[in-house]
């Protein structure tokens, strides 16, 4: 079955990369609020887009995970970017904001201040 062959190829490629693991990318987490409030506001496509964009850029060891409602239900979708325990919370995240967050914050190390919860105009 073609599909299973593809999965085996992914495994082989990933096993070859094991030696190179343990870099700074491994300590980056992208957490997307996926409580009922988040789901209702469109958090699922936001998380899906993060996964697609990271895979496209081959940033495959960045952790993307859902988290429960944080209480910021009026500013969903909420996305928290955690790098080495430093946490930045973005509010009202739209698909258009994702590329910038990945480029400037995940890759560049600098949070996008305009998008931070409480800062957005």
């Amino acid at each position: 079955m073609k599909s299973l062959d593809d999965l085996k190829k992914i495994r082989e490629a990933a096993q070859h990369k094991v030696i190179m693991r343990g870099g700074t990318l491994d300590s980056i987490k992208i957490l997307v609020g996926m409580g009922t409030c988040g789901i209702n506001a469109g958090a699922r496509p936001i998380m899906t887009k993060f996964v697609e964009e990271l895979a496209k850029r081959n940033l495959i060891t960045v952790t993307v995970a859902p988290i429960d409602c944080t209480g910021n239900c009026d500013n969903t979708p909420i996305v928290k970017v955690v790098i080495d325990k430093k946490e930045t919370t973005y509010g009202n995240v739209t698909e258009k904001m994702i590329a910038k967050i990945i480029k400037e914050h995940v890759e560049g190390g600098k949070p996008v201040q305009d998008y931070v919860l409480g800062n957005k105009k």
């Binding site: 992914i10 990933a14 009922t36 789901i39 940033l59 960045v62 993307v64 995970a65 209480g71």
Partner: protein, 184 residues
């Protein structure tokens, strides 16, 4: 919510919070009986009779960040508005079963939507709960089982983003084939 798969995402996260090691998502469409059923079974902590009696109340939640718990009540409402029914049963330390039944052709019965995105997100949850998804349309099945995928992956995690993309495509293609089989 405008997709059934969004309700499933919401409610199955409760199963994961209840430390389930296996969640079964069983969808059964029967065009002749005009039924669409979604059964979500988990082997998590389960609920006491007292909690079970309150779980469909939108103002009941185990969370501390907010005073409302809408996931289960919204799912119940969706089923009832589609001329269907909703049932939850649970046993402490054994698990919980959620059964939502819809009239398939009802105008209020929203489409399933991107179930592959829902399952991908459930897998990306750090606890690593196994997911068994079975979708039946008029007797034909498609199944997806994280345990089978793990066997092929050996030591590579299910949460590897390339694996996640593969899983989404596998589910999407599998369901497309299932629908085409049904139309024949």
């Amino acid at each position: 919510m405008n997709e059934l798969s969004l309700h499933i995402l919401d409610v199955v996260q409760n199963s994961i919070k209840a430390k389930a090691t296996l969640v079964e998502i069983i969808i059964d469409e029967n065009k002749i009986q005009d039924t669409y059923s979604i059964t979500l079974t988990d082997n998590g902590y389960g609920m006491s009779e007292e909690m079970l009696a309150k779980v469909t109340d939108p103002f009941f939640t185990t969370r501390t960040t907010r005073d409302v718990g809408l996931g289960v009540s919204l799912f119940k409402m969706a089923a009832e508005l589609s001329d269907g029914s909703f049932k939850i049963s649970s046993k402490l330390n054994e698990g919980t079963i959620v059964e939502a039944l819809f009239k398939r052709s009802h105008v209020n019965r929203v489409p399933l939507g991107a179930i592959e995105e829902t399952i991908a997100i459930l897998i990306l949850n750090s606890i690593g709960t196994d997911i068994y998804y079975k979708h039946t349309i008029d007797g034909n099945n498609y199944t997806f089982d994280t345990r089978e995928v793990k066997e092929i992956l050996e030591d590579i995690p299910l949460t590897d983003l390339n694996v996640i993309m593969w899983i989404k495509n596998n589910i999407k293609d599998g369901l497309k084939t299932l629908k085409e089989e049904d139309q024949e």
